[in-house]
């Protein structure tokens, strides 16, 4: 996308275009700065102060500078630490299931053997049309004994499962979130697979590679930038886990109110009105996001060189 300005355009025209560019980008940029950039700066500012509430409401708080005190308080808080452990476990299950599942589905639909490709794509994508909170509610229903066809089917085989018990709850949440997002990522992978030049695939076939081998050795390496990017966004989303545990919490004893870091931040900010702690904790979470982006990109680059 190099410069499209024709060389014949005069200086006046160019100035007019610069003005137009400013007018067209301006409104977006203003909102971007006010609703995205400024809040990050404000969070950093808030994290350095401790609001001591001397009464009820906003009027009665006094603000004391506390340096990195809030960060120390957040980092040493046992529930916050546990929250990181919880999402580490969650990510360890969720990210492989999500990326692996979406990849396998995309490769299957892209394979020569698949029929009704359009239907399968639509079927996989439809759960994404269900809002995350509603998806969580629907899965709570499907996990509830006496209500759910899943339990009914299990009972037919004489089996029973406690999807909302403390041991299974993590996997139950992974399932609800994966159900909603696998199709979305699958369509991204499928689109990338469609962009592989046909000659490359034909060459692989001529060389005697079967469907599985072509998928693994030819197709997968060719869409790795999509895979890396999707892994990146999946990780950023997963560490912010909030909707599923917050919805499931009303139905299980396995989840505390500050089970995930985001829930901890929400509690600190809106139940305890400890804004300094919430801001520091949210920046620590953002830091984890930065580290994860870095790691995923690095691993992606190494994969490219390999």
């Amino acid at each position: 996308m190099a410069s499209r300005l024709s060389t014949s355009a005069g200086a006046t025209a160019r100035r007019g275009q610069r003005g137009a560019a400013a007018l067209l980008i301006g409104p977006f940029l203003l909102l971007f700065l006010v609703t995205l950039v400024a809040p990050i700066g404000y969070a950093a500012y808030l994290s350095l102060f401790r609001e001591q509430s001397s009464g009820l409401g906003f009027g009665g708080t006094e603000t004391v500078f506390s340096g990195l005190g809030n960060y120390v308080r957040a980092a040493t808080n046992p529930s916050f630490q546990e929250g990181f452990l919880h999402i580490a476990l969650y990510c360890a299950v969720y990210i492989p299931v999500m990326i692996g599942g979406a990849l396998v589905l995309a490769l299957l639909i892209d394979s020569a053997a698949a029929r009704a490709k359009r239907f399968f794509q639509l079927a996989a994508f439809l759960p994404h049309a269900v809002p995350g909170m509603i998806a969580a509610i629907i899965w709570v229903f499907l996990y509830t004994p006496g209500l759910s066809p899943v339990h009914q089917a299990l009972n037919l085989f004489g089996a029973e499962a406690d999807f909302l018990g403390p041991d299974a709850i993590l996997f139950s949440m992974v399932n609800a979130a994966a159900w909603q997002w696998i199709g979305y990522n699958m369509v991204i992978f499928y689109a990338a697979l469609q962009a592989i030049p046909r000659e490359t695939l034909e060459a692989a076939t001529v060389d005697g590679a079967g469907g599985l081998r072509t998928a693994w050795a030819v197709k997968l390496p060719m869409i790795r930038s999509s895979v890396v990017l999707t892994t990146l966004f999946t990780s950023i989303g997963a560490i912010q886990l909030f909707t599923e545990p917050e919805t499931f919490r009303a139905h299980t004893a396995g989840l505390s109110a500050d089970w995930s870091p985001t829930m901890f931040i929400y509690q600190a900010a809106f139940s305890q009105h400890d804004f300094g702690l919430a801001a520091a904790a949210s920046l620590l979470l953002a830091l984890l996001g930065v580290v994860l982006s870095f790691v995923v990109t690095k691993l992606g680059n190494r994969w490219k060189e390999a």
């Binding site: 499209r4 639509l122 079927a123 809002p131 369509v187």
Partner: protein, 308 residues
């Protein structure tokens, strides 16, 4: 409809499309054995069952009353009470559910239309105008994609409360307007749909730059408008954290947040099960229908996202 819309602008035309249209590839592709054909399609059928089962169950469950929900569980049919459930749903608490639906429609339609226009203008300008620091500014905007929304929700709440916007429609509408992904899509689409020559010709005819955008480029980007709008619409229909933080007044809730409060109280009011089931179905159907009808647009959006 312009012929351009039949294929996404960024996907190289290797295949004419995954549909039943007889593509040249189909004739030449290697024949898969019966075994692998059965295995592949079998797995895909299982996947479809997994994907479609929950909403199918919801559809059936919405036809049952509270007794049948538990008395005739799963896919067993009970007495047909869909219309009674709908009547109950919309009558409950002076019709608060209808109010929530209207709120959601307002947040999603108005917010997404405004957001889409902003994104298209910015994406078009990033694509068509050369100015100093363009790519740096563009990269800065794309970095916004990586910002965890939870990090900014508290400061945005405090800023909104200083501006006196808590418990107003604005508190939910304004923070959702700036959408970096929309700018990215718009730039890709502007590159694909708006030829530089057309703009040059308009300039020769003496049209001003803004007029060129609004009366020439914008109509050419109509498919882009639909795609960006659809993604933005889903985003705001899905948005849960922002309204949760910004709104205390039940009358301003979007439908998702309203159902969330019903869900949280379910153990105290078990008679709300049928309400919650029916409400979930009603809040899901508009989006499912929109996605089935507007397939071309989300496909091209995700394609643009994939071919970076």
């Amino acid at each position: 409809m312009p012929t351009l819309t039949s294929s996404p602008p960024t996907a190289p035309p290797r295949r004419t499309g995954p549909g039943p249209s007889p593509s040249p590839r189909r004739a030449r592709r290697p024949r898969a054995g019966l075994g692998s054909r059965t295995a592949v399609n079998g797995v895909l059928l299982l996947m479809s069952f997994y994907m479609l089962m929950p909403v199918t169950w919801l559809l059936l469950a919405a036809t049952k009353d509270n007794g049948d929900l538990f008395g005739r569980p799963g896919f067993l049919l009970g007495d047909f009470n869909l219309f009674a459930n709908l009547a109950d749903l919309f009558a409950y608490h002076d019709g608060v559910f209808g109010r929530w639906l209207a709120n959601s429609a307002l947040y999603s339609v108005v917010g997404s239309a405004a957001s889409t226009l902003l994104c298209l203008a910015a994406g078009y300008a990033f694509d068509k105008y050369a100015f100093a620091g363009r790519e740096k500014l563009y990269g800065f905007v794309l970095l916004g994609l990586l910002v965890p929304s939870t990090v900014i929700s508290l400061p945005i709440y405090l800023l909104a409360s200083k501006a006196g916007l808590i418990d107003t429609y604005w508190a939910v509408l304004i923070p959702a307007l700036a959408n970096p992904f929309g700018v990215y899509l718009s730039r890709v689409f502007s590159d694909g749909y708006v030829p530089a020559e057309t703009l040059e010709a308009a300039r020769m005819d003496g049209a001003g730059e803004l007029r060129i955008f609004f009366s020439i480029a914008l109509p050419m980007m109509r498919p882009a408008f639909m795609t960006v709008f659809l993604f933005s619409f889903t985003g705001s229909w899905n948005n849960f954290f922002l309204p949760l933080v910004m709104l205390n007044d039940h009358q301003l809730y979007p439908v998702g947040l309203g159902l969330f409060t019903w869900n949280a109280n379910l153990s105290q009011y078990p008679e709300q099960y049928a309400l919650l089931v029916t409400g979930s179905l009603v809040s899901v159907l508009p989006l499912v229908l929109a996605f089935v009808c507007l397939q071309r647009y989300w496909r091209s959006g995700l394609t643009a996202g994939a071919v970076k």
